[in-house]
Structure formats: structure tokens, C-alpha cells
């Protein structure tokens, strides 16, 4: 088991190293951040001063070396735009993202799971079609479009909800819905297919032959087993919701890490983009590592096979 965990940990660290290398060089392909910090027509001296201030005048490999050295010390650098440590910015925004992701996840599960069960139980009938349409719209409508429609309806026409910002319960409803719908649709689809698999299994047939009521067969015997892949997916989705809600957070001016990433990209704020991507990557790698270890604990064959 120890060897398995060590090997998995090694892969995880290697993934993060590759991620740091990729993001460091890719972000620099986007252009010169100094150009966005001065007006067009600014003097060469002003631009050179900015390069020097941010260490962009050094060779690329030196910049990467310094970046990694600082990273090992837990220092993600200083934002070009905010002139503030990246970690401090990240942790200031993280609670907002956690809150939004939690509410959006709750919404996606509350809506997605029952709809998926209903679609599986009523397969090929009206509820199944309604469920499929819900999933189709959720997966295909862009979240910025959903967000703007919600704002037009609930803020501008009805005046029930604030259009943007944070601070109260009402502020979170629209962004959580816009973010959660996509994931609700994917949870619905997975619940439906997982339920269909389970409902076709021998032990469910046996339960029905024994004359157990439908509600008991579905609710007790089928649901629990069908839920396992949904919960696994929900765990990974939660990490994604925290880190990639860029569009929703921007449309609703929600102060989370997704918006921080958007700001970093907009201003070519390399340390911010690197920091947010690496922190997000670390969360995803950690979640996968935990899942791998959990599987290995549950099923010893996995340790041997891998």
C-alpha cells in the first residue's frame, strides 16, 4: 500500500511540475504585460522600467528558475496589477468561490439526481424526454447567456434579485443557478444511465420478483448503488466549480477565484494566472489522488494491478 501511495504521489507531483512548466511558458506567449500597463505611445523608458520592476528583463529560464524556487518556498509571487502577494489574493477570493460552488453543487444534486431517477424509471416516456431536454439545454446553453437571461428577467423586469455582486443570500441565487445548471444536467445524465444499469441487474429483478414495492426497490436497493459514480463525479465537479467558474463570476461580478483568473488573463498578470492555475491544478490532483487511494483501500486488487 505504501508503495502504491508513494507511486501515486510521485505521479501527482510530476503532473504539477508539468503544469507549472506549461502555464509558465504559455502565459508568456500571450504577449508583454507592460503594454497593458501603459498607454499606447508611452516611452521606451517607461516600458523598460516596468520590465525591470517585474523581473521580465531576465532570460526566460532564469525567470522560470526563480519562479520554481519561490514556489517551493510557498511564494507564488506578487501580482503585477495588484502589487499584492498572489496567495493573499487567492485566499481572499477562495471563500466566495467555495460558497458559490457549494450552493451550485447543492442545486445541481437536488435537481439532477431526482430528475435522473425519474427519467430512468420512466424511460422512453414523457418524464424521460423532459429530462433529456433539461440535460440538453443545461449542457449546451453557455453560462454567460443563461446568466444574462436571468439578470434580464429577475433583476431588470421583475426587480426581485440584485444583478451582481455579493453580500446577501439573494446575491448568490442567480450565479448558483447559472453555474449549477450545467452540472445538474451532467449529474442528471449520469444518474439516469447509472440507474438504468442498476435497474437491469439481477438483484433488482429478484427484489421485484419477491414482490417488494416499487418505491422500496428504487429508493433502497437501486438508488444507493446508482449513486456511487454520481458522488464520485460530484466530488471532481465541486473542485471544477471552485476553480473554473470564470464566466459566471465575471457576468455576475462575483468576487471568486474564477474572476481573479479572468482579471489575471485580462491584464497579463502572469503571477496571478500561474497561481490560480497551479492552485486549481493542485486541488484537482489532490482530489484524484484521494479517490485513487480510497479505491485502493476499498479494493486491494487495484494496489496490485497498478
Amino acid at each position: 500500500m505504501r508503495q502504491f501511495v508513494a507511486r501515486r504521489l510521485g505521479y501527482s507531483l510530476l503532473s504539477l511540475l508539468l503544469l507549472s512548466l506549461t502555464i509558465f511558458f504559455f502565459v508568456r506567449v500571450t504577449g508583454d504585460p507592460a503594454a497593458l500597463l501603459v498607454e499606447p505611445g508611452a516611452s521606451d523608458d517607461d516600458i523598460a522600467a516596468i520590465h525591470q520592476q517585474f523581473g521580465l528583463d531576465k532570460p526566460l529560464w532564469v525567470q522560470y528558475g526563480l519562479f520554481m524556487l519561490n514556489l517551493f518556498r510557498g511564494d507564488f509571487g506578487q501580482s503585477f496589477y495588484y502589487q499584492t502577494p498572489v496567495l493573499s489574493l487567492y485566499f481572499d477570493r477562495l471563500p466566495n468561490s467555495l460558497l458559490l460552488a457549494s450552493v451550485a453543487m447543492a442545486f445541481s444534486l437536488i435537481v439532477g439526481i431526482p430528475t435522473g431517477i425519474l427519467a430512468a424509471v420512466r424511460v422512453g416516456r414523457l418524464w424521460d424526454s423532459v429530462g433529456k431536454l433539461f440535460a440538453l439545454l443545461g449542457l449546451s446553453l453557455p453560462s454567460f447567456f443563461v446568466g444574462l437571461l436571468l439578470i434580464m428577467l429577475f433583476s431588470v423586469y421583475l426587480g426581485w434579485l440584485p444583478s451582481s455582486g455579493s453580500g446577501g443570500v439573494l446575491h448568490i441565487l442567480m450565479p448558483a443557478f447559472a453555474l449549477g445548471w450545467y452540472f445538474a444536467a451532467s449529474h442528471m445524465r449520469l444518474t439516469r444511465s447509472s440507474m438504468l444499469d442498476v435497474l437491469g441487474s439481477e438483484y433488482i429483478k429478484l427484489a421485484r420478483l419477491k414482490g417488494l414495492p416499487q418505491a422500496l426497490v428504487i429508493g433502497k436497493h437501486a438508488f444507493k448503488n446508482a449513486l456511487i459514480p454520481v458522488v464520485t463525479l460530484a466530488g471532481i465537479n465541486l473542485v471544477l466549480m471552485i476553480n473554473v467558474a470564470v464566466v459566471v463570476e465575471t457576468v455576475f461580478a462575483w468576487p471568486g477565484v474564477g474572476r481573479l483568473l479572468y482579471e489575471g488573463i485580462s491584464f497579463r498578470d502572469f503571477p496571478v494566472v500561474q497561481g490560480v492555475v497551479i492552485m486549481g491544478g493542485a486541488m484537482i490532483v489532490a482530489a484524484n489522488l484521494l479517490v485513487d487511494i480510497a479505491y485502493a483501500v476499498i479494493d486491494p486488487r487495484i494496489r496490485v494491478e497498478k
Partner: protein, 511 residues
Amino acid sequence: MTTRREVLTLAALGMAASAVQPAKAAAPSGQLTVGVHITLAPTWLDPAETAGIITPFMVLYALHDAVAKPMPQGNPAPSLAESWSATEDGLSYEFVLRKDAKFHNGEPVTADDVKFSFERYRGAAHGLLKDRVASVETPDAQRVVFKLKNPWPDFITFYAVASGAGWVVPRKYVEKVGEDGFKKAPIGAGPYKFVSFTPGIELVLEAFEQYWRKPPSIKRIVLRVIPDESTRLAALKNGEVDIAYSIRAELAEELQRTPGLTLRPTVGSAPYYLYFPEQWDAKSPWYDHRVRLATKYALDYNTINKALTLGYSHITGSIMPENFEFYDKLPAPVYDPDKARQLLADAGHAGGFDAGFYTCDAAYANLGEAALNYLGEVGIRAKLRPLERAAFFKGYADKKYKNIIQGASGAFGNAATRLEEFVVKGGNYAYGSYPEIDELFPLQAVELDHAKRAAILAKMQRLLDERTMYVSIWQLAFISGVGPRVAQPGFGLIKGFVYTAPYEDITLKGA
């Protein structure tokens, strides 16, 4: 012996600025929320970090004050200084500070603070200022004297307009709390005090009732970042914000149609133009002056303006912003496609010609598309090449483009600084130059007589127009929306400044 110049005029301006102070003003009340289009940065809380862009001044005008700064009374007008004067030889500038100016902690603004702020300044043009200023002397608490190494007629422009070097911070406080401490809790001498700041999200300010010019009318101002334009407009419609910056095109039309909301266009300091980098190459069609002139007549400026900025941009014949010192008003271009075709025919292009690429900043490709259609109508056939902003300006400065460039500049300065960058030999964005313009440039640079210098610079601008070195299009309008609670939003009070200011002049209805 030194002869004082300008002092009477500027002292009068100072008195005029002071005169707006009412005998007894009502206590500030209410809150104004501004939906800001761009992310607020902590560096904007500190004048020492002022970059060469206009956006930090959105915050500086509230929180801080300058020795002199652009104001409704003048550009620049006396502020913390009630007057200034220059010696006849142009080597020394003396500022006399007003006695009633205070920082938010109650301490008076002194000459020592002015000197400290200048020496601490590290923003745009700091190298230029520090290279040319030999020393800063403070003979007493109210007087500051800047000694220059050589005469520099643009000293006031750079000190009071084109940088943040003249904005004053309290020396004792900065030394006590340190640089980071100052950014976290800045103290200034402006009309509003710092309350709280969440980077990128929100800045909250509260009225400083001892502000020397007059106490602000509004108790609290909140600058809230709402990056999405549609959401900003929705927030304005919903009454969540009172002012929404940057509402463009179709959304601006919607704003105009919405009862209770007001559209407030402000013309900024960024003229847009066409430039022909091959006009010095005898083999190029652009070498022929008639072809460049045909381009000027080919564009329907008013229709483009109405379509893209609801007609609020200013059609201009100059590459200088109207609010620049030494700006010389040139005739606005007119649309005459027949004349354009005739000029092309006279130049040997009766059937038109393939003009290659029309390179522009992708953010303004809509202007490029409209211009290309009109150019095509008269026979100048070009292909649009929109480039991402930074890449566009780098290629422009590296002199990599050919054919037609659609450029713009919002850099601070005056007509001389703009000519230096874009027109005369060696300029960062000058692909070539005309000797008759070049030879005038050094003459104005050492001319201390303002009228004579203005005459030289006006002549240079007219020569520029006669050669059709550039085809100017417009000075872009920045469109904002104002909600029903606001009586005086402050737009356009300071010429060329696109945001709401001075903050102490903003009022709410019924306040």
C-alpha cells in the same frame, strides 16, 4: 534677479478655485455607487505608482490632491498650490501652497510633503522628471522651489498633467506605516477619505469635510467593479448603481431609450487616425500626396460616428487631443467620394488599387471595418488585419507594418510630446519624417516664450496636415450612464477626463 511670470494669472485662478467654497455647506449625506468597468488596483491608491494611463486618476481625484492638476478652471489649475511662477531663465519654478489644505489625519499639507512626494514618485515619466530636476528646495512650509538642470518648457506639463509626481502624500504618515501600510490604509488630501478596499472588487470612500476647496455633498462613494457591460447596464436600470461607466453601441442605445436614465458621453484624449508608413517610398502608391488626400475624402466620418458611438465622438483634423496644450485646431475632414475618386484618377489609379493590409488594434476593428468599406467604395481595396492590442502596438513601434495603420494614442503630454513620438525623425511611432517639420522641432524645445513656442508648434501641425501625413478620424467618446438619483454627475467638467470628477462637485437630487 528673477522676474515672475504667470503668477498673477495663476493666483487669480487659485482665488477662483477657492471662491467656489460656500460660506456654510450642508453636511454630506447619501451614497453614490459607481459601476466601474475596469478592475480597481491597489496601486491606484498611491500616487507614487501612477502609470501613464488615465484610469488611476479615477481614484486619485477622490482620495488625493495635487500641487496643480487638470480642473474645470484650467489644465492644469492651482490646487494645493494657490499659485506658481517661473523665473525668466526657465530654470526655477516656485509653488506657493495654500494654508488651509489638510490631510485626512488633520495634519497640514507642507512643502516638505510636496518634496517627499516628488522624490518618492516612481510612476510614469519619473525618469524624465528626475533627470531634468536638479533639486527641490523648501525655503519655508508654504513654498517649494524646483530647480532644473536646463530650461524645460514642458516641466509643468509633466509635473502637473502627464504624471502623478505632483500628487502629495503625508510624509510623516508614510514613514510611520511604511509603503505597504500606506497602500492598505492610504491617507491623502483629497475630498474623500479611505474607508475600505477589496482588490478588484470595491473601494469605499467617505467625505472629508475639511477639504480646502469645499466639503463634498455626498457622504459616501462606492466604486464597485462590474466587468460585464450588460450587467453594468442592468445594475443601473435596477438602481444598484447610480453611474455606470463604459456602455457602448447597442447597449448605449438601450440606455438612451430607458426612462429615467441619462446617457453621458465624454470625449477623452485619444484621437484615432490612419497612417501610411510607406509614404516616403517612391515606389509606393502612398508616396503620392493625392492618394493620401483621396483617403481623407473617402471616409464618411459622420455616418461612422453615428453608427459606432451614437454621434458623440468628435470628428477631428488633428492627431492631437483638443485638450492638449499647443493644440492647433485644423479643419475637420469632410466626406467627398467624388473628389476622392478624382484624386485617385489624377494619381494614375482610375480603377483603384490594391492597398494591402489595413492593420489595427482588434478592440477597434469595428472602426476599421467601416473605414475599409468606404475606402473600397472609391477604389482603395485593403484587407483588415486586426491584431491583439499589445501585439499591435509592439509591431507598430517596431516599424513592422506596411500599407495602412489605424492607430491611436491616449498618452499624456502636450502637442510637442505627441509630435516627438509620432511625427519627427526618430520618434517611436514615426516611420519617416519631413525635413521642414523636423527642423522646427528643436526650435520649440528651447523656446521659453509661450506664444512663440505655440506659433512654432502650430506651424508644425499645419505642415503635418498639408502633407496629409496622417488622416485623422475622431477623438473617441467614452459613453457612461447616469441614474435618476444623480443631479450633477461630474462628467465633462474636466476637459478630456472621461470619468466623473471633481468628486466634490458631484451632487444627488434633493441633497
